[in-house]
């Protein structure tokens, strides 16, 4: 039992899950009706599930998708992309304009165009970060400022409103399937990214570059390319989010669409127990973080918190959750749990290497993760670091086979 607790505490997902649990527990205690789900017909005659829980999953979809991209960018570049909300406005503008201008353009074509444009803007951010070595927050500040005016320029300042059966199916429900479609899109993205992380080296390379640029270069990775790719992936996420947003109401308001969503996406990454200075990451944590944020919003709405106090309430909840996540509090609980003495020295380091996940043996505890300075630039230390601690989110697959390769010589990206 004690062992189980110890293992749970060590799991990097423990705290994010607790955070989500706290929010749900609050609802269970104050308003059990929160969990009720009912089925009804909408005004076009399709069956649809409704209830607060459905609303949480439905409305969190966009945030979940953006949290995926934000996690990868954070890991590889050690910074955040603050232009995503503005880029959603751009991609949404492109999709809307394409659908409105010529009748008969298939939705797929419009969405593909929107995604391509978003990826181009992602590439722009990526070039600034990877080639010009500008801090991500500064580089993306450009589109953060310019994005919404660009969107307004694309739509000519008009607000076209589209009624289209495909959009309706995407933004609401597919006839015959009572679950809101955005939930499926988010689930698809989550599944896709897990498969990608499992079967490709995308995540591994991002973490390698995030832990140490220099060491990654020494083992033959191209930090520039790796960082650049993450921004393009984020562009794809942005395009999909824009598609969902456009579908929900059949229009966009370039000034308000996805407003401040970048901050929520960053918060999701942080709530997931990830360090915002890059390196090791837990994708599952970020996704749980995203659902937690939407659960908070929906809870506040369900409890009719007064408008002028809404942000303050949200801030209070988030402060509590972030403090629970802080190394000091985690350390306190670990000591209370009387785990092995070596653990007390395992505060997350500069690169945010989390305390070792379950499954990492004593070997991992002795590994270089415990060392304070992983940026020492040695390829050996990097490969040791990567091979010594297979993280749950990476899966055991690529790691053992790659570790010797990393140590031995150049690997193509």
């Amino acid at each position: 039992m004690k062992n189980l607790m110890k293992n749970l505490m060590k799991n990097p997902l423990f705290v994010p899950v607790i955070c989500l649990g706290l929010v749900l527990l609050f609802n269970l205690l104050t308003n059990a009706g929160f969990f009720e789900i009912s089925i009804k017909r909408n005004n076009v005659g399709n069956w649809i599930l409704a209830g607060n829980l459905i609303s949480v999953f439905n409305n969190a979809s966009e945030l979940v998708i953006l949290a995926i991209g934000m996690t990868l960018i954070t890991s590889a570049s050690g910074g955040q992309d603050i232009s995503v909300g503005a880029c959603v406005a751009i991609a949404g503008g492109v999709i809307l304009k394409t659908l409105a201008s010529k009748s008969g353009v298939p939705v797929v074509a419009a969405v593909s165009l929107g995604c391509l444009v978003a990826m181009a803007f992602g590439a722009f951010n990526g070039i600034l970060v990877s080639i010009f070595n500008i801090q991500p927050m500064v580089a993306t500040l450009i589109l953060f400022t310019a994005g919404r005016p660009i969107s307004s320029w694309i739509t000519g300042g008009l607000s076209p409103r589209i009624t289209n059966s495909v959009l309706d199916a995407v933004g609401n429900v597919i006839p015959g399937v009572p679950v809101p479609t955005p939930i499926f899109i988010a689930a698809f993205c989550v599944g896709f990214i897990f498969l990608t992380l499992r079967f490709t080296n995308l995540g591994l390379y991002a973490q390698a570059v995030g832990i140490s640029d220099k060491a990654a270069r020494l083992v033959g990775l191209s930090p520039r390319l790796v960082k650049f790719i993450q921004f393009v992936v984020m562009g794809l996420c942005v395009g999909l989010v824009a598609f969902i947003k456009v579908s929900r109401v059949g229009s966009i308001q370039y000034n308000y669409i996805a407003k401040d969503i970048e901050m929520d996406a960053i918060l999701a990454v942080a709530l997931g127990g990830n360090s915002l200075s890059g390196g090791r990451f837990s994708m599952t944590g970020s996704i749980i973080g995203a659902y937690t944020i939407q659960a908070i919003t929906t809870t506040l709405l369900a409890n009719s918190v007064p408008s002028d106090a809404l942000s303050a309430y949200k801030a209070v909840v988030i402060i509590i959750l972030v403090v629970i996540q802080s190394p000091v509090v985690k350390d306190f609980w670990r000591r209370r749990g009387k785990t092995d003495p070596g653990d007390s020295s395992l505060n997350p380091t500069k690169n945010g290497l989390p305390p070792h996940p379950q499954g990492a043996g004593p070997k991992a505890n002795a590994g270089p993760n415990a060392g304070p300075n992983p940026a020492s630039g040695s390829a050996a230390s990097l490969s040791a670091s990567l091979s010594a601690s297979p993280a749950a989110n990476l899966g055991p697959g690529p790691l053992p086979s790659l570790a010797p390769a990393l140590g031995a010589g150049p690997v193509g990206t």
Partner: protein, 322 residues
């Protein structure tokens, strides 16, 4: 060097043209027009077009234009520059109402008169000769009056508020909350959706999920009304002329009036951005030595399913779909 010469030449030509224009007819009235960002919204776009077309050369004005790019500093700098250039009137739609003391001082010294349009500005009375604004409180009162006349058997209202603290939100909210208190109307929910369509959809969905009864939605702009209607549609709740829930929106964009015409919404209260003719008239009156009102409220209407016509929709000059 070559470029500089070309530029100089172009400038000379331009000056020449401007310089000769007034001598051709009566003297033009020199005006500095300072507006907000034309890209801010469809409303602003319509406002910008109205201002520039009303204060045209044909109408006897020589106007220099500057836009804020969303920063009041840009507006203040432009105002100072226009005063130095010797304009007779400054026509301003300020990004923020305060912080204009230095401009007021310079304007006073140079004898420049200030007219504010669309938004209020804080300046001493001897400088600020007139303001033309939308009466947001009156807009709210129109909606409330209409709602009262509707004599519904019960009033269970979802109140969707705009961005908290904005003039439109404060006054449109005040109209409803005061009426609700006086008449015993029940505000089922009172939440901000920050002018956003999707946020409004979430707010209404939350009320539906909480299984609260409601029969009126008072949304403080058209977009939020559209978001609220999207939530109703998703939950199989009817609305509009023949439906269960009364829908009230504000601003009267063309696309929104189409919804009223189609019977999907019940009422839309206009927020008129076309201040141009009114400002032009005020300046002409001042030039003729007439006395003008300190505050002029722009004329605004409300359209419900009975009063709306296709002609009204076609006659809109703003809020187009495409």
């Amino acid at each position: 060097m070559k470029f500089k010469l070309v530029f100089l030449l172009a400038a000379l030509v331009a000056f020449g043209l401007v310089g000769t224009a007034p001598s051709m007819g009566q003297d033009l009235i020199k005006i500095g027009l300072i507006n907000a960002d034309p890209n801010e919204s469809g409303y602003r776009k319509a406002n910008v077009e109205s201002m520039t077309s009303a204060l045209s050369k044909e109408n006897g004005f020589d106007v220099s234009v500057a836009y804020s790019e969303r920063k009041v500093e840009n507006q203040i700098a432009a105002a100072q520059q226009f005063i130095n250039e010797g304009v007779k009137y400054l026509v301003i739609s300020p990004e923020v109402s305060t912080g204009w003391d230095s401009v007021a001082q310079s304007a006073k010294e140079a004898g420049v008169k200030v007219i504010a349009f669309d938004r209020v500005i804080e300046m001493p009375d001897d400088v600020l000769v007139a303001s033309t604004v939308s009466d947001m409180r009156a807009e709210g009162d129109k909606a409330v009056k209409w709602l009262e006349d509707k004599k519904l058997p019960a009033y269970n209202i979802i109140h969707i508020q705009g961005q908290m603290g904005t003039d439109a939100q404060v006054k449109r909210s005040a109209a409803l909350t005061e009426a609700a208190k006086d008449k015993g109307w029940n505000l089922v929910a009172q939440q901000t959706a920050s002018w956003s369509e999707e946020d409004a959809k979430q707010v209404v969905q939350a009320v539906i999920d909480a299984k609260k009864e409601f029969n009126v939605i008072y949304a403080e702009n058209d977009n939020m009304a559209a978001g609220a209607v999207a939530a109703l549609d998703a939950n199989g709740i009817t609305h509009g002329k023949t439906g269960d829930v009364v829908i009230i929106g504000f601003d009267a964009n063309q696309w929104a009036l189409k919804e009223v015409l189609a019977g999907n919404w019940n009422l839309d209260v206009e927020c008129n951005p076309l201040h141009g003719p009114l400002v032009a008239q005020i300046i002409k009156d001042l030039e003729a030595g007439k006395k003008v009102d300190k505050v002029r409220y722009i004329e605004e209407q409300a359209f419900d399913t009975d009063t709306i016509t296709q002609a009204v929709v076609d006659g809109r000059t703003y809020g187009f779909e495409n």
